[in-house]
């Protein structure tokens, strides 16, 4: 170990070590949630979200360890692309999961979408054969 505990280097090392451990714990949390949550939609929460923070902490520790500022823009761009893509994939899987009924209704305390879906389905059935089916 570095005997000089007061130098800036030691502090940077310590900070990046903490970041790495917490980031790894976040990914572990995602894995535990994937195993333990009951249905697709609640698993989506575990599968997509904790990594946003986990990746942020791991990238930050990479940046701290590299010790050149040229690497920060790349890390930032990588994180921003993660921010842009995670909600889209979560939305696509969640939407498909809801529509194909991969969820446990008994675990929902309220469902304000079901009535809307029922109404749209009833209207689509009424307009059977016409060009309906899309919401207006």
């Amino acid at each position: 170990m570095n005997p000089d505990r007061t130098s800036p280097d030691a502090w940077v090392d310590m900070l990046s070590a903490v970041f790495m451990i917490v980031g790894a714990i976040m990914s572990l949390g995602a894995a535990i949630g994937l195993l333990r949550f009951p249905d697709l939609l609640s698993r989506m929460h575990a599968a997509t979200k904790p990594q946003v923070l986990g990746l942020f902490l791991l990238l930050a520790s990479i940046g701290l360890q590299m010790r050149t500022w040229w690497v920060w823009p790349v890390l930032l761009v990588a994180w921003i692309f993660q921010l842009l893509t995670v909600p889209v994939s979560a939305h696509m899987v969640g939407r498909a999961g809801y529509r194909t009924k991969h969820l446990h209704r008994e675990l929902l305390t309220s469902d304000e979408l079901e009535a809307v879906v029922q109404k749209a389905a009833a209207r689509a059935a009424r307009e059977d054969g016409s060009d309906g089916g899309r919401g207006d």
Partner: protein
């Protein structure tokens, strides 16, 4: 959507972003490289023309920085909470699907609000109704109607924060009316 020309001022944030990505990927922010990147950005924006993103033309950095910090804090807190839920509650967790009507009719604002609320663990967008700009969220660990109400409040306050950062003047006006009412 039609090939309507948008002004350079509205297109500028996109071009700046492309140049930043270019510089970041080369890890080289020298003037020559940035100039070449800018030329490429203009060429890409002209050749591969997408439906224009209708930016409002204003951006308030004074609201943006605190918003980003609060966002990071919320992500951290909610990640820890999700970890706790996964370990402690697991299969017994109760959820809800909640409809949240938004104020804004702008596609960009609805998308941004949906993104922010999806990134904060514990809620994800299941369905979007563009005509009424209503977000349908699936939220984790909702056990009572009060929690549903507080979730709606949170989403609407996130939208208010985004409007203060980059909403149109009309949206700001609605926000002000709401505050005084």
């Amino acid at each position: 959507m039609s090939r309507r020309r948008i002004s350079l001022r509205q297109e500028l944030p996109l071009l700046v972003w492309l140049v930043i990505v270019w510089g970041a990927l080369w890890q080289d922010f020298s003037p020559g490289n940035l100039l070449f990147g800018a030329l490429l950005a203009v060429a890409v924006a002209r050749l591969f023309y997408l439906p224009p993103v209708e930016l409002s033309g204003r951006f308030n950095i004074l609201y943006a920085i605190p918003f980003a910090l609060v966002f990071l804090g919320k992500v951290a807190a909610a990640s820890a909470q999700l970890l706790y839920l996964a370990v402690a509650r697991g299969p017994k967790v109760t959820n809800a699907v909640v409809a949240v009507p938004l104020r804004s009719r702008q596609d960009l604002m609805v998308t941004a609000t949906g993104h922010v609320i999806s990134l904060i663990p514990g809620s994800l967008v299941v369905e979007v109704d563009r005509s009424t700009s209503t977000l349908y969220l699936h939220a984790l660990n909702i056990s009572s109607p009060q929690r549903v109400e507080s979730l709606k409040q949170e989403v609407r306050s996130i939208e208010a924060g985004l409007i203060r950062i980059m909403g149109t003047k009309e949206e700001l006006e609605t926000l002000r009316m709401e505050a005084t009412a």
